[in-house]
């Protein structure tokens, strides 16, 4: 066997590693550029409000439905699990804590990633391949300021609000199952929920939501701006945006949970 054949797997590994570092560098530079444009005028208010409408308001049904069913299923699971050691009464508190700390932000973030990162990447990618990004530049408008900054700011502000609404809907999902299927008294269920929830349970979930919103919009914009040519290029950018945003959300969730709750 030749030396080249022996070293080719190493070469492939090296290429992949270098490509990963290069991509990380490009993404870091992109985030740096976005942050630098955040604090320098001009700001495009109309683009910001349109992004809020698209990312926040129009994502509400999908986030709400996800939270409702997740809260309901969570209550059933906790009841079934709690029954093994006669702890059925913890259903309201654990459902609420589970929703606001973990499932609300993570599932909300993932649903927004699926809906918003894809649409941002496809929209900006199409703008790139049809020379609309170049047209923006020739019209003295910085594409980062006009396309990226409003979307990133809107997502960072709207996703925590979505998470907050999702938390309430999720807890209501648990309450519905608890009171109709598991025999809980309505007032007692709600009192237990309220009594056991602490401010930081909710606050940490909202901070996660802001981080996930930033990730979703940044990934959508980054992959859209770096889209390849043609329909295939835009399709690949869209797929990459959703995958990258989803993985980044799950990784960020772990890191934030470590930061917030590790002893």
């Amino acid at each position: 066997m030749s030396v080249q054949a022996l070293t080719s797997p190493l070469a492939a590994l090296g290429r992949a590693t270098l490509a990963l570092f290069a991509a990380t560098g490009r993404l870091t530079f992109f985030v740096g550029q976005t942050l630098s444009h955040l604090i320098r005028p001009p700001f495009y208010a109309r683009e910001f409000w349109l992004a809020c409408l698209n990312i926040g308001w129009l994502s509400l049904p999908v986030v709400g439905m996800t939270a409702l069913f997740t809260g309901a299923a969570l209550a059933l699971q906790i009841y079934a699990g709690g029954a093994r050691f006669s702890a059925e009464q913890v259903v309201p508190s654990i459902t609420a804590i589970g929703m606001v700390r973990e499932l609300g932000p993570v599932l909300g973030g993932l649903m927004v990633a699926a809906r918003v990162a894809s649409s941002i990447a496809a929209e900006i990618g199409t703008m790139k391949v049809t020379e609309q990004i170049d047209a923006l530049t020739t019209l003295s408008t910085n594409p980062m300021k006009y396309l990226t900054v409003p979307r990133v700011v809107a997502a960072t502000l709207c996703v925590p609000i979505l998470v907050g609404i999702g938390d309430i809907i999720g807890i209501m999902g648990g309450w519905m199952v608890g009171t109709t299927r598991l025999g809980f008294n309505s007032a007692t269920y709600l009192k237990n929920t309220w009594d056991f929830l602490e401010f930081w349970d909710v606050g940490s979930g909202l901070v996660k939501g802001a981080a996930f919103g930033f990730i979703v919009a940044t990934m959508g914009c980054y992959h859209g701006m770096n889209s390849g040519r043609g329909a295939q290029g835009v399709g690949r950018a869209t797929k990459s945006a959703v995958v990258a945003a989803s993985v980044a959300i799950l990784a960020a969730n772990y890191l934030l949970t470590e930061a917030f709750f590790s002893a």
Binding site: P42, Y44, T126, E131, Q132, A135, S140
Partner: protein, 248 residues
């Protein structure tokens, strides 16, 4: 006057521009001709700073285009893109008035709309079109809207990237006439890239042929047919046989 000296640009191992020297005189219409993939669009984008050249210099009225206020530099230009490049999310009038609604040229919305409608009228479109969206327009209408946007802020220099591509011969003729009229009445410096010879004859004061990354021939339109350059002759007559290699 735009002056290019020894301009080079490569993409990986592909050397697109290999030392382009060209002068675009003020107030004249210069057309760059050349086959597909010869770097005509790259040349235009290098001047505008959309693509960073590898080497050489680009000056506008003697000043290096890469130094100085970029917004002020771009404010002197208008550009008609090959596919129109209209913003899908904005209505036609908002596309035309884009530059007038933001930045240093910002005006009140009603005034910007008024100017947009006047420019639409100038390119032969009725005010009814103003509130439509680009997706509701035909290709020819989109080109006209693109042209209206390019001239909305009354730039000194206008670039036209393949202005007749994808249009039927009659609509192509209409767009050529419009470009000629508008450039003449505005007294603008125009630079057009095309491989459509009817466009060249309708629009050009001067013609330059880009081949193999360099300006192969350059001169007034009146001298183009008489030039003995075999590359130019093959190109303008659309002959398959000649020094320019063609894939069959």
């Amino acid at each position: 006057m735009i002056t290019l000296e020894a301009l080079t640009k490569s993409f990986g191992s592909k050397h697109v521009l290999r030392g382009v020297d060209l002068v675009v005189p003020t107030g004249q219409s210069t057309v760059i001709i050349g086959g597909s993939g010869t770097g005509k669009s790259v040349l235009l984008k290098c001047i505008l700073g959309l693509i960073e050249p590898d080497g050489g210099t680009i000056t506008l009225d003697g000043a290096d285009v890469r130094v100085g206020d970029r917004d002020a530099f771009l404010a002197r230009f208008g550009m008609l893109f090959q596919g129109g490049a209209l913003f899908d999310s904005l209505s036609v009038w908002e596309n035309v008035a884009f530059r007038l609604l933001r930045g240093s040229l910002k005006r009140p919305k009603p005034e910007a709309r008024e100017i947009a409608i006047e420019k639409l009228r100038r390119v032969g479109l009725s005010p009814d079109v103003a509130d439509l969206f680009p997706a509701e327009l035909s290709g020819g209408m989109q080109k006209r809207v693109g042209l209206a946007r390019a001239i909305a802020a009354e730039p000194e220099i206008i670039f036209f990237d393949e202005p007749t591509t994808g249009l039927d011969p009659i609509m192509a003729g209409v767009i050529n006439e419009l470009i000629r009229e508008i450039v003449t009445e505005m007294g603008a410096t125009a630079m057009t890239i095309t491989h459509d010879m009817s466009s060249v004859r309708a629009i050009a004061d001067r013609v330059a042929m880009l081949h193999a990354g360099k300006i192969r021939w350059e001169g007034p339109i009146a001298e183009m047919d008489a030039t003995p350059d075999p590359y130019v002759q093959q190109f303008i007559h659309g002959r398959a046989e000649g020094p320019i290699e063609t894939l069959r």
